[in-house]
Subunit: 253 residues, 2 copies
């Protein structure tokens, strides 16, 4: 826990450098060994969990702020980020960092301000991430998506909204390039879809549809070493992938 002196310094610094009343919270999705993971932080002392987040510098574009925040938590540059919602109910900050609530008079205390938070979700390659805690947390770690502890504030809602948005996006955007390693097998990719959607898909139909999108390249190589028949390795065709990101998949009408 921060001392009163540290808190005071933080608040002065924050007021000087950050936009008031605005924060950013990120839901970082990773995929590893067949399960979806989310990056969470654990608070000092209290031990409560929360999503990686931060503030926007006074002259910084918000996308850049989200990138900066995530670079600090993951070590990664150029993360795939998608803004998905602003959470702006005044009550949402009520219990925010309440452990620091009484340490400073309200006028000086950055954390008793009201904050609107801009939600971003990020898709990253699990293996590339080096989780690093921030100054309020003891640890930053991956957590199984279907086993997330209760989160501080409205972070549980933010996570749920991010996941819902991701599921919708799945229907008209290619997803996977940012979550999968460079090479992967079709069953591995299917597992990704299955964990995001939380339901089983038909192996053969999945493959036909996926190939139909035209965003995959099949390698000559096979994934050797596993038991059973060796599956083909695929990678994304970046040109078509990017085009599909812009165009979208279907959309009927």
């Amino acid at each position: 826990m921060l001392t009163k002196k540290e808190l005071k310094e933080y608040c002065i610094d924050a007021r000087e450098n950050y936009l008031a009343h605005i924060s950013i919270d990120c839901v970082v999705f990773g995929f590893h060994e067949g399960t979806m993971k989310v990056l969470v932080l654990q608070m000092k002392d209290e031990g409560e969990w929360y999503l990686p987040g931060g503030f926007v510098l006074k002259n910084e574009p918000i996308e850049m702020a989200a990138n900066r925040i995530l670079k600090e938590r993951t070590g990664l540059d150029e993360i795939f980020l998608q803004q998905f919602h602003v959470f702006g109910h005044p009550d949402r900050s009520k219990e925010h960092f309440d452990m620091y609530k009484d340490m400073l008079p309200e006028k000086e205390n950055w954390f008793t301000n009201r904050f609107l938070t801009i939600g971003y979700y990020a898709l990253v390659d699990f293996c590339d991430v080096n989780p690093a805690p921030d100054q309020f947390s003891t640890s930053c770690a991956w957590c199984d998506l279907n086993n997330v502890p209760p989160l501080k504030l409205d972070h549980t809602l933010i996570l749920k909204t991010a996941l819902d948005t991701l599921r919708v996006h799945l229907n008209y955007q290619p997803i996977g390039y940012n979550l999968m390693p460079g090479e992967f097998t079709m069953p591995e990719l299917q597992k990704l879809y299955e964990t995001i959607l939380d339901k089983k898909l038909d192996r053969r139909n999945f493959q036909r549809r996926m190939l139909g999108f035209g965003i995959l390249k099949r390698s000559e190589q096979l994934r050797k070493g596993g038991a059973h028949k060796a599956p083909y390795l695929y990678s994304f065709d970046l040109e078509n992938y990017r085009a599909a990101l812009i165009e979208g998949f279907k959309g009927s009408w």
Copy 2:
């Protein structure tokens, strides 16, 4: 144009009551006589056009702020509102109200602040709206969607983004209840879809698909008076409509 005194009063009032650095801009869509309309305001003196917008009271939920702002411009309560994006580049406010830029020192001037703006789009029944200007505008009026003048700031981008979002939503949500009068004919509803999508649709396929959604009730009545064969009148089945809003239409996977 506001006098220096008026401006000063406005700024003091704003700083006291509104959250700093946050604004709301609304794209209000209406539908009338076969064309889409957007609500725009015209600035005093300069004559430039911009979207209806405003700020968030210090203890007000953002949805409520959007509703309040639109109530002032349209006279309507309970508007269908959809948050769609935050525009947060620092340069976006550069030319904001620059006519007022030099009238007050920067520290006192609310309008030289940087603002992130939360974009909402609204769908309203054209006939219910009573357009009312705000204190910076001489007029508030409907404008043909395919004939919108250049807008101040990034409002042209905001409008375009709203329209793109609406088009996407069309694919997995029912749209129409908020834009159409209580009773309407199938060709009228089709015209709405055609103007939003900016393309012609097949009469017969449109009808089949629309009815397939199960959100329409056909009245016994016909629309009399027009030339040619009298079309049936329809209204939305609110129960199914709301269910479809939550469920969404398809979504494959």
